[in-house]
Amino acid sequence: MEVFLSQLFIGLSVASMLLLVALGLTFTFGQMNVINMAHGEFVMAGAYTTYVLQTSVFGTGAVTLAFGLSLPLAFLVGGVLGLILEFTLIRRLHGRPLDTLLVTWGVSLMLQQLARDIFGAPNVQVKAPSFLEGGITVAGVSMPYTRLFIIGLVVVALLAIWFYLSKLPAGRRMRAVVQNRDLAAASGVRTPHVDRLTFFIGSGLAGVAGVAVTLLGSIGPTLGTNYIIDAFLVVIVGGLGQLRGAIVAAIALGLANAYLEYWTDASLAKAAVFALIVVFLQFRPQGLVVTRRRGLA
């Protein structure tokens, strides 16, 4: 029972991190059909933002302040990087999703090297603020505050997105574009604007995920690659552009990983999760949540 509960917690905490990275992808992939391989590097940029704030700007004396400020700032850094990418490259590749994938991979290589040149190749450590040190033990399961914080962060991010999509006019335009781009354009929605905003928000969320990553261990130039594939798998399993699907998929993948890891070992668990995904696609090839389109698509 204790094992069950502790793996449950581990699974949920893995899921929360995955979801945080995948949220932005759900937007950009779902709305614009853009596979942004540099998304992982936006996460990395967010992590280094925290690092810079802590070491160079505020010094180690004001860790909590630096951490608090890094959340909005990392959102901005990620978002601006996303905007630049959208403006310079992605827009030119409209209608060529596979080429976009490869081009953004090239961008991700360059960003990694840039980080290496600026911050050095070895990993660096970011100090967690003092209020996140330690943890609580419930029913024999010890839960570090950092992990709980990340779960909380995801919940807040989801609430914010929900509010944006359902209450704000900009969010409603975005939903319209996701559902039917042509129809939205025909009814006066300026889709390029919406795309840009979507990319900003999606990439900004990656930056926020980067702040969370600093709580889990040291950070390095290649940390993005550790997350990007799993995050894309979440999007595939969840269904294109489906927030609900992504949530369920992230939790399912996180839990599957945690329990399989306990029964076998970490390396076989990864392969088993992949096998499970292929089996899952036999039943739901378009993911958990499907929107229909007509014709010979």
Partner: protein
């Protein structure tokens, strides 16, 4: 002038191909061994292994539209199959002891794992190099394509496969040699890998295999099947209504590409002397695609050339400018894919076209000055 124009034939007729192929074969089999020193020739052998992978990617991606981002999986399957056999051969030659591969002794394995046992047989190992990747690709491909999972989805899944494979390789230390992989090879079917003459022979063998693989792939592309494959790439759903099952069409190309990658892995092991997870993960796998993109995804010969060019550039540049090379590689991705999607093949086509039109214009312009005079 007319003869000059003939040097750049517009069509790709059978005769033109035979000439080109003979020239390439002569360059690889006669000129290169005569001109290059042992070290350079071995490097070329390595690039030819990579070119074999590239030909496979050209088939699956260029013709079939399947963006295979995880060819490292198949390259590795072939490489490990061959490496396991070579390790066992050497262990069997040990005078005493448990006759286990060296890394197993180090990691405390006492008897040969069952997975290794059949690789004692050379025939099994050789067949496995090609067939295991093909079978794995056929099974995964059938499961994925049958459900009409394609495009970016397939690309991501193929990448995830390579990632999972690498994690398993690293995790199963006693079985696979972990992060270090398989190294310290001494012989390959009687060839002593420390002997320069034997290594020259090995080069020739690799070159012949490469030429053979190229011819097979070319035949596939030019056959009726090749046309159906292109049809699947451009309008898969339409192909169904002509009575074909696109799943089978695509699986064949995917498995073919996997078999080629496996074969390349099997040759890479004796040529380079190592097979390890670092050669197979997400990053190396996607690099394989950039070779093909640079050369030209729809032209097999250029895809192979792309692998050789990038391989050469990497060895040369990455030693001199380690950080610059990584930027250059990223930039290469961006520039080629975004602005020259036909790769060098497209550039060369354009050049030939310009040269031809220049030549023909000169010819037709010859009487022009007189007209100018008359007008004046």
């Amino acid at each position: 002038m007319a003869t000059m124009a003939k040097l750049f034939p517009a069509g790709s007729g059978r005769g033109a191909f035979l000439v080109r192929f003979t020239l390439a074969a002569a360059a690889l089999l006669l000129v290169a061994p005569a001109l290059l020193n042992d070290f350079r020739l071995n490097l070329l052998a390595r690039y030819l292994c990579l070119a074999i992978i590239a030909v496979g990617i050209g088939l699956a991606w260029g013709q079939g539209g399947m963006l295979v981002l995880g060819q490292g999986l198949f390259f590795g399957l072939g490489g490990y199959a061959m490496g396991m056999h070579m390790k066992l051969e050497e262990a069997a030659a040990l005078p005493s002891g448990p006759q286990l591969p060296d890394f197993m002794t180090w990691s405390g394995v006492e008897s040969l794992p069952w997975l290794w046992v059949p690789f004692r047989s050379a025939a099994f190992a050789i067949a496995a190099c090609v067939l295991v990747p093909m079978i794995v690709a056929a099974v995964l491909g059938t499961l994925i394509f049958r459900q009409r999972v394609r495009g970016a989805y397939f690309a991501i899944l193929s990448q995830a496969m390579a990632a999972a494979f690498v994690i398993v390789l690293i995790g199963q230390q006693g079985l696979t040699g972990g992060t270090n992989g398989l190294t310290n090879f001494r012989s390959f079917f009687g060839l002593q890998l420390s002997n320069p003459d034997d290594k020259r022979l090995l080069y020739l063998f690799v070159a012949v295999v490469f030429l053979a693989v190229f011819l097979i792939a070319r035949q596939l592309v030019r056959s009726r099947y090749g046309k159906v494959l292109v049809a699947c790439r451009d309008a898969e759903d339409r192909v169904r209504f002509l009575g074909y099952d696109p799943t089978r069409v695509k699986v064949l190309a995917y498995a073919g590409a996997a078999g080629m990658a496996g074969l390349a892995g099997a040759l890479y092991v004796p040529v380079v002397g190592i097979m390890s997870p670092a050669l197979l993960g997400i990053v190396p796998s996607i690099e394989m695609v950039i070779w093909v993109a640079l050369g030209g995804r729809t032209v097999l010969a250029w895809a192979a050339a792309g692998a050789i060019i990038v391989g050469w550039a990497r060895t040369d540049l990455s030693e001199r400018f380690p950080s610059g090379w990584l930027y250059a590689q990223g930039a290469l991705f961006i520039i080629v894919i975004a602005f020259a999607p036909k790769g060098l093949a497209g550039v060369s086509e354009e050049l030939q076209r310009r040269v031809r039109s220049l030549l023909s214009r000169r010819r037709s312009e010859t009487p022009a000055p007189e007209r100018v005079k008359v007008a004046a």
